[in-house]
Subunit: 382 residues, 2 copies
């Protein structure tokens, strides 16, 4: 009974799934195990869950018999080490989602300016609190690179809050640290709070050094979101953290639901404080495979000296690549469906604001998977 | 560094911890392992985490590399089996806390009548949504048993929502099914929504049969909260569920944060559908130990034929017992501190509405622990 019910609901599905391909649906459809699917729709570190983190989780399953420490002191202390920020400036959350929602609930800005295209939860969380939402358009002609000057002009005109995802999802563009510092300082002078979602910051060249966390006690208008999700390949663990001025953090904690982090999320800090080796291996993989996948996508599909352009490939700064279909006979939804039938999931990016049904996003994965992507795209686009 | 920081914060502590003794603090203070503490402050099934559930969790740790299915279809289907309610009437949550908060957020009642003393989160969640909160006092003279007739009179006077915890925490009193049905029907006629928190329902004599879930599609004004937390001894897993009319459930789902349940909570349904043996063993333990602990508490401390009354012990319907100190030289906070120093945690119940610093609450545990409680109380109260 259960299986047929689940199958029916999966297969029915939702053509506009908000957050990328559903690997469970694909696994049901194709009658394959989850790990047999090539999932390029989720931007997860392909090095997988660190062995030591797995061990910590397994050894803590028995501790689920206790309520988590309601203040999460041990985790806070470990996050303080990992993030190099005083614990009083940190709030842990049930994934970054909880932090995003809590931020808007507590800050209650009158209006918010969100760069777009970007992750849809900022808008959803803002609307949830009846915040007036405006967008700052990232221009395709500029490769979706943020126009710092123009953003600062908008801030000068007055806005309570600005949201930046850095590096940005789905465009994979990173704002340089000096530019970001300039934006924050400018916003500070205009009493504008800046929310920066750094969910992918450890997945850029330079890793944690690109983070703005070291400005947290210089600018009270700065709020940063980080998470274990992408970098440590644990979306199912639900561990995110907000970093901000201590008054906002205390306020958010007072409004947080009790025990919103599960026992395993609460104990993951024991891994974070000794994650250096994993981070180093991640950097090595990233530098190599990001370049390889980009180069090959360009070579096979976007280099007109070679053949007719089929794709426009936007140069990535992190572990995923935004791509535009140039062949008019195909849209991203059709391409997604075709690839899914063959066990390869991509993110149809048409439901991102200012993008359309020619855009899709792929994660950078291990070499074998990346080769599979190139091959299957070659077959489908030929 | 971390250890001293954590220790400092634990030891400093908070004299009015909202939800009972902090086992982490005690473990630090006494330099003991968590499992060496006799924790009577948390009302958790002492049979512990079911072996099969542990195995399911361990085998699913590797699946944390995937985002949980955003619709939790498989879990819903399994909950439907376990609760004997159509899946469309169920919303899973990050513990029952998330369900309580979401309920008030979506229902937005003008006012709410909460029986008291009771679990403090109903009030907190209601105030969070600016709901006007009133209390229906449970009378000590009636052994804190709900006066059904009087409650119905209050409902007749008009109120948007009534909250009942059944069996009630901390009084351990169960409202009989027929009485509860009468309340719901009466409330239905007066357009009053009834929220019943059945977190402990499987820990009553009669177990699931005492639940009001079978009325869910008869009365649209009924909303029930259940959870895996207490009965399956997994407060650290964070798995609760709301059961209500399908429109309210759909509305709540649309306002729920994405992926609020972690991967292990989402896979726990595979245990629920084969929990019969564990539930049977729980019932056997409960019938025996609840009677034993109550009888011995009365015999040693409340039976004036035996010696001077030291305690007033309220007859429990579930796995915890509310107790009132009759000896004036001791209050519940002092008693709690004294016992904590000896590795035994009790719940100082003085911060429950309408209770004072003579009340405390103890869980019913295994025989060895229950004996330890009687012995240490004998020493401290003599």
């Amino acid at each position: 009974m259960i299986d047929s019910f689940v199958e029916e609901n999966f297969l029915e599905g939702n053509p506009l799934e908000e957050h990328g391909g559903n690997i469970y649906k694909a696994s049901k459809m194709l009658n394959k195990e989850l790990n047999e699917i090539f999932d390029f729709s989720a931007n997860i570190n392909p090095l997988g869950i660190p062995q030591k983190l797995k061990e910590i989780m397994i050894s803590n399953i028995q501790n689920m018999v206790y309520y988590p420490d309601p203040k999460y002191y041990k985790l806070l202390s470990q996050l303080s080490d990992y993030l190099e920020v005083p614990w009083i400036n940190i709030i842990p959350g049930n994934g970054s989602s909880e932090i995003i929602y809590l931020f808007f609930k507590v800050l209650k800005p009158r209006d918010v300016l969100i760069t777009a295209p970007s992750f849809s939860e900022y808008e959803k969380a803002a609307l949830n609190e009846d915040v007036f939402v405006r967008y700052f358009k990232l221009e395709e002609e500029q490769g979706f690179k943020l126009n710092t000057r123009k953003l600062m002009d908008e801030i000068s005109c007055g806005v309570d809050c600005v949201v930046l995802c850095n590096p940005n999802n789905p465009t994979s563009k990173l704002v340089e640290k000096e530019d970001m510092a300039e934006i924050i300082a400018h916003a500070y002078r205009h009493k504008t709070t800046v929310l920066i979602d750094e969910a992918f910051i450890e997945l850029t060249e330079g890793s944690k050094d690109n983070s703005m966390t070291d400005y947290i006690n210089t600018y009270k208008n700065l709020f940063i979101i980080r998470a274990a999700t992408k970098i440590f390949a644990v979306p199912g663990l639900r561990l995110g953290y907000g970093i901000g001025n201590k008054d906002l953090i205390a306020n958010m904690k007072s409004k947080q639901q009790p025990w919103s982090l599960n026992t395993l999320a609460a104990c993951a800090g024991s891994f974070l404080i000794c994650a250096d080796d994993y981070l180093k291996r991640t950097s090595e993989w990233l530098v190599e495979e990001k370049a390889w996948l980009y180069k090959n996508l360009v070579y096979f599909f976007a280099d007109s000296s070679n053949r007719a352009d089929k794709l426009k490939v936007f140069n990535p700064d992190t572990n995923f690549i935004l791509i535009k279909l140039l062949c008019t006979e195909l849209d991203s939804c059709v391409l997604k469906e075709r690839l899914a039938k063959r066990g390869v999931l991509i993110r149809d990016a048409s439901n991102f604001k200012y993008l359309d049904n020619r855009f899709f996003r792929v994660a950078v994965k291990d070499r074998r998977s990346n080769e599979r992507l190139i091959n299957i795209l070659t077959e489908e686009l030929d």
